[in-house]
């Protein structure tokens, strides 16, 4: 049998718009598909059964007591379950037999990571049985159960992941299988259309509106999603890729063909080497640490100590780079205050030992050493503009007393706040010489400062001032001729 998995997001299953989604299901059935529907919770934050609203309800019991992750997942899963039942009822009202299933009833088994569970296994036998009986199967997205039956939620992109994974699980039992992800846009766009329109909704002069891609590869879509585009969640794309499931992104409210996400095949695809889109993501702060010339040999040790501190605070870092006189990285701006508290005035010891030898196994108690007994680096992480922090100043005074015994060196960080990353998605970047040069030329001519760059197999990114991000996206989109009719 031909099986089609159709996933509908929150805006597609509200009372007002559900009819459009149901029409898509009926049309697919009329075209000979057996249909499995995956639904999200209805509406967005603030709506009665939206996930955020349910969490707020739980917290309203006592805001001072954090809920148990297990119970929080139970209440979060309710939004999808309600949506499932109402969708099944809507189909029934149109004369189509349907059955509503929770994630667990659909056979989705996950690990025990409440709030961000991973799908381990799907037993699709009950879904198959229902399909064979001619029913439309409506499955609650974003959820599964552990082996003993506790409800889990799948975290960000959970419903997309459910849809993709169900497609993978049903594939061995289908003569043909496809997964359709329905959203409120008509496919994967070359850029965020909102960046190209003014407040009145008019296209900004001298620009071409982003176009919908006819096809895209799993890698391109995963990269775009990671770099800020709100398309299919990368987890869903990765599963579809792994199991070779054709994945469509379509609009619930239009009949446009949408975007087909397929395998990247350099041998057969004319688009194997191409620029696909421009994205923007992240509210970042960029930190650059300049080391004294004589201290370069200590750079790795200093970096290691810093990164360990960031690890303890669960602060991810991005855009790492090393240069001849220091190192740099970016962090999410939300972490900057904490980082400043942690690092300003911090003392990092290197090879510190006492008069009778260095630390660790190298020490030799038979030889008395002369000072200095190692080096310490005092970090200064002030406000933008280079002023050192108060903790740095205090520590500097305190360490004066130690200078007879250890070398004390200042290690000051230059902090650039209000940065963001603009990325050009370039399939097989390394086979496309000149992409970085073109990006830098375009941004230079658009008067956009580039603090740093990064590249991967599928994207080239520039760290730019946040205020210039939209202008940068528009300029790059034009330069790579990505717009409609460009």
């Amino acid at each position: 049998m031909k099986i089609l998995v159709q996933k509908f997001g929150g805006t597609s299953v509200t009372e007002k718009r559900r009819g459009d989604a149901v029409a898509k299901v009926i049309k697919a059935m009329q075209n000979g598909w057996k249909v499995v529907v995956v639904v999200s919770a209805m509406g967005r934050s603030g709506d009665p059964y939206a996930t955020d609203t349910l969490i707020d309800t739980l917290y309203s019991v006592d805001k001072t007591v954090p809920p148990a992750p297990r119970e929080q997942d139970m209440i979060m899963a309710c939004g999808e379950i309600i949506s499932t039942v109402l969708f099944a009822q809507a189909l029934r009202a149109r004369g189509y037999e349907s059955v509503a299933l929770t994630g667990g009833q659909a056979g989705i088994r996950t690990n025990y990571e409440f709030g961000n569970a991973r799908i381990e296994e799907i037993n699709p036998h009950y879904i198959l049985r229902m399909l064979e009986e001619g029913k439309v199967v409506v499955v609650a997205g974003f959820q599964g159960t552990t082996l003993p039956g506790a409800i889990t939620t799948l975290g960000r992109g959970g419903s997309d992941t459910s849809g993709s994974a169900l497609g993978a699980a049903l594939k061995p039992h289908a003569t043909e299988i496809e997964v359709e992800i329905y959203t409120d846009v008509d496919g994967v766009k070359t850029a965020d259309p909102r960046v190209f329109h003014d407040q009145e909704g008019k296209l900004i002069a001298n620009h071409h509106a982003p176009q919908t891609l006819r096809t895209a590869t799993y890698q391109e879509v995963a990269e775009m999603a990671h770099m800020g585009a709100k398309v299919v969640h990368p987890r869903a794309a990765e599963i579809a890729h792994q199991y070779h499931i054709p994945l469509w992104v379509k609009s619930t409210f239009e009949d446009a063909p949408g975007t087909l996400i397929t395998v990247d095949d350099a041998n057969t695809s004319p688009d194997a080497f191409r620029v696909t889109g421009v994205t923007n993501t992240g509210k970042l702060a960029y930190l650059r640490f300049e080391l004294p010339v004589f201290a370069q040999e200590d750079r790795t040790q200093i970096e290691l100590q810093l990164y360990k501190l960031l690890q303890q605070e669960h602060i991810p870092l991005y855009l790492n780079s090393i240069d001849g006189c220091g190192f740099a990285f970016a962090i999410s701006r939300e972490h900057l205050i904490r980082l400043r508290e942690m690092l300003d005035g911090l003392v990092i010891p290197i090879n510190l030992g006492g008069p009778y030898g260095g630390s660790g196994a190298q020490s030799n108690s038979a030889t008395r050493r002369r000072p200095p007994y190692g080096r310490v680096y005092l970090l200064g992480l002030g406000i933008t503009g280079g002023m050192r922090g108060r903790a740095y100043q205090t520590q500097r005074e305190l360490l004066k007393g130690a200078e007879d015994f250890v070398e004390v060196h200042a290690l000051e960080a230059e902090v650039t706040e209000n940065c963001t990353v603009v990325s050009v998605i370039a399939n097989r970047f390394q086979q496309l010489p000149g992409v970085m040069a073109k990006i830098l030329r375009v941004l230079h001519e658009a008067n956009v400062i580039v603090y740093q760059t990064a590249d991967s197999a599928y994207s080239v990114s520039a760290l730019v001032p946040e205020d210039d991000a939209k202008r940068a996206v528009r300029a790059l989109h034009e330069a790579f001729h990505l717009g409609e009719g460009a």
């Binding site: 056979g107 296994e121 082996l147 699980a169 990368p234 970096e303 960031l310 040069a437 073109k438 991967s456």
Partner: protein
């Protein structure tokens, strides 16, 4: 961890997986009986075939024969000079990666096969440069790498423990790239593998 310690953990994981598999098989059989279905598919994934990658590093990739180029440019004209260098190399179809803006100018990596041509171009362009040859790029790969706090600390720790110098780093959504001397490749990969891969489902 010692090698013995590692082996013990792997064995424990295998034990858990095998136990799970047995339980699953029993569960499927029971489900079949309850529903009275003759032909029922078993779960399509085994413990070895996961729907989703576990959080954390899944492999360490190595790209060999890499050269690192540091280009020194005058501060006053740095922005335009960077563009000139990159555009000149691009017009010669030389692929570059790990391209970084440096306070002193610019740096990038390229494959050894393009090194000679690049040197000729840079000489012709009249810029001061320094090439470091005989490098490899080791890249621990993970799903959503950028969301994993602590991964950089672990990579650095693994390389520092193995006494491997890190010349440059880069990161993408699924990998952290480290440029290191080729002579240290085996030691680096062994240390990264021990540090990052043998951790079961422990989030990084």
């Amino acid at each position: 961890l010692t090698q013995n310690g590692t082996r013990d953990i792997v064995c424990l994981e295998d034990f858990v997986k095998n136990s799970t598999k047995l339980d699953d098989e029993k569960r499927v059989v029971n489900a079949v009986k309850e529903d009275n279905v003759e032909q029922v598919s078993p779960p399509i994934s085994s413990p070895l075939v996961r729907f989703e990658k576990d959080p954390g590093v899944t492999e360490v990739q190595v790209q060999t024969e890499i050269v690192h180029a540091a280009i020194h440019l005058p501060a006053a004209t740095q922005t335009t000079e960077r563009l000139r260098v990159l555009e000149t190399l691009a017009s010669a179809k030389i692929p570059l990666f790990l391209i970084k803006m440096q306070p002193s100018g610019l740096s990038f990596a390229l494959h050894e096969r393009y090194a000679e041509a690049s040197e000729n171009i840079l000489k012709g362009a009249g810029v001061t440069y320094h090439f470091t040859r005989n490098l490899v790029m080791v890249s621990p790969v993970a799903g959503a790498m950028r969301d994993l706090s602590g991964i950089m600390a672990q990579i650095y720790e693994a390389l520092v423990v193995a006494d491997v110098a890190i010349l440059q780093t880069g990161d993408s959504y699924n990998a952290v790239h480290c440029l290191i001397p080729a002579i240290d490749t085996d030691r680096a990969v062994e240390s990264l593998t021990r540090q990052l891969l043998n951790k079961g489902e422990t989030p990084l």
